[in-house]
Subunit: 271 residues, 3 copies
């Protein structure tokens, strides 16, 4: 049987060899396993951005092994885990710091989980600073091949896995108080409200929306796509994950509004 | 039969998961298709740089499916297309904004083309902002497998495809007025004149060339390679695509001369 | 027989198509060869960083062909080589400028070597500026397939290969004078001393270490991992290659201490 595909997401960046060495470890153990790099550009140590990006990407990936490493606590007491989701026979491998939690929620939760400390699948010597190479990648490779989840580590209660907390948006009749979930490489800011959060008729295509960020207020137009507003103009749109996002056509919304992750943004449509 | 290889070029960058999610979509549809990432570092929205880089790369790629996405007009009226080149059985998939045109010209033009709007190969739900994931990647995957071009969309006149316009260099007896086609990551500026544009004997290896850019004038030497001039010195050389390029050994020509894409550069050899 | 895997390391960066075109050349020649990108983020022209990163990565890669291109002298007199290591049946392909030397030393030295100038495996036309595409990638692809090393070029004396010189640390009873080998993308500085360079008892987990860099002095703590010190605090740790490294938890050691490659750093434990 062919090995299962492995998707790989991290904050390792592309300047260093960290992601490449993990790919090499996988190829050493399971030469035919296909590695699909989702991104290694998660902001350093941003567990939350990693969790959101992973959860948004999963529906577009083939079921298999999902390796994810954003791990500010590497070498500390945080657990390393492999988790079988309740649906779709997907196994997630990574630190137990919330990184995997949003993807798991979207798949009906965790069905089985093991603690990878002392995993027989790990490399012989495990350093304190590079669990991607020494622990997570080899476990992912073995699980992509013939390795069984129960053999990867010690069984733990799936209910004990760390969940991530996202700020809650507040919806009022005339406005929504949203938050910046993360900012992409183009400076678009993903918000934590879907377009249908607003009462009927308040947010229709073409509507003006008053946007109040921490540092600046602007007027944006709710449109389908970037080309629907002029160059340099702000738009509010349903992004590819189904949430509202704030952008500037051929510009950077984050740059212009001074936005950062977690910032509160007040949206008042038709004001 | 094994699926055909898919080359992939875009301006998605490496910070975000956009290219990775497209790779995941391809792997979901055609697990054995090999994806060859050419680059995702095309300057954002620079259709022309994308077109030039794609055309230069194609001779070095295996015939197959060539997925290219630099798409400032995503979600607008611009067409999405798949195009069979007249030669070498290569199929290009991307927006109809000129991005594919230079590669097609080099392959004898377009033989057949289809409009992908409403393609049966697309994902079930197509967003307005991420056609790479929802439309182009799945079409490329299907065409790499058993999918036929005529089944990918509605036939259109290959003559109706958008062509890209490049500035024309002007050659005089004593000088050439060239343009910066694009600037690579090292700051080298590719120009739109080949070395043999000059009358015989005017541009021979070792010749001094007076270079007049918009903001500065310098003397460069026409040499074979970077190591032929001292560190920090300017050189003019035949780049790997066969055009003249302006560089600085262990430095950045674009930085030192304040060059940007499209800038006029006057070259006077032996002056 | 399946082709052997090819690892690929370079300073080509991810902005341009250079690495991608090399991958395409390999896929054109040996469609089933697996390419494992180690990194293309070596600092431009930094042969030494490339040599160190390659040597550190090799133990984690599957034996095969190891393509490495950091080549400031491309097109000059420097030789292009393919080298069989004495151990593990690994073949290295790249410029003979020291880039391959540290990895070879770790594998018992070079057993056989060929000069690739005029290699029958090269592309038909070899430019002066892009040997990665025209020479190294096609040679690597052929060697991954049925190509024999002796057919790749003209035999040369393995003893004539260029070695790289690293600065030597100096160890005293009360301190060590180390050097910055290279700085990773997070600003951590790898030093050229292992933890056991110090006399017994002087460097134990938890020890304070006085660190004197060129521009600043600081106190660091020798710990296992980043999370063992507070945010913004300096640490000295055994990095994933087994050397000491200087870091700042959730910060950049290089940024804070003004470190650059080759800088001298004086470490006085327990002072």
């Amino acid at each position: 049987v062919a090995p299962r595909p492995i998707t790989f997401l991290s904050d390792y960046g592309d300047r260093d060899e960290f992601a490449g060495v993990c790919r090499a470890v996988i190829a050493s153990i399971e030469p035919d396993a296909r590695v699909i790099d989702l991104t290694h550009g998660i902001a350093r140590h941003s567990v939350r951005q990693g969790a959101v990006v992973l959860a948004n990407a999963i529906p577009f990936t083939p079921p298999g092994i999902h390796l994810a490493v954003v791990d500010p606590g590497v070498g500390s007491e945080r657990r390393a885990v492999a988790v079988l989701a309740a649906e779709q026979d997907r196994i997630f491998v990574g630190p137990d710091n919330g990184l995997l939690s949003l993807a798991l929620v979207a798949l009906g939760g965790a069905k089985e989980a093991v603690d990878l400390t002392g995993s027989p699948f790990r490399l012989e010597s495990v350093t304190h600073t590079f669990h991607g190479r020494d622990l997570f990648a080899p476990v992912a490779a073995r699980l992509a091949g013939k390795g069984k989840l129960r053999d990867a580590g010690e069984e733990i209660d799936p209910g004990s896995l760390t969940a991530i907390e996202l700020p809650e948006p507040r919806i009022y009749p005339d406005r929504a108080v949203a938050h910046v979930v993360y900012i992409d490489g183009f400076g678009n800011a993903a918000l934590n409200v879907p377009p249908d959060a607003f009462a009927d008729g308040r947010l229709t295509i073409g509507a003006e929306v008053h946007v109040e960020a921490t540092q600046r207020k602007i007027e944006a137009r709710y449109v389908r796509t970037f080309a629907d507003v002029g160059a340099g103009e702000a738009l509010l749109y349903e992004d590819s994950s189904g949430s509202l996002a704030l952008g500037v056509n051929r510009g950077s919304a984050a740059g212009e509004l001074g936005l950062e992750a977690d910032d509160e943004v007040v949206l008042s449509p038709g004001a």
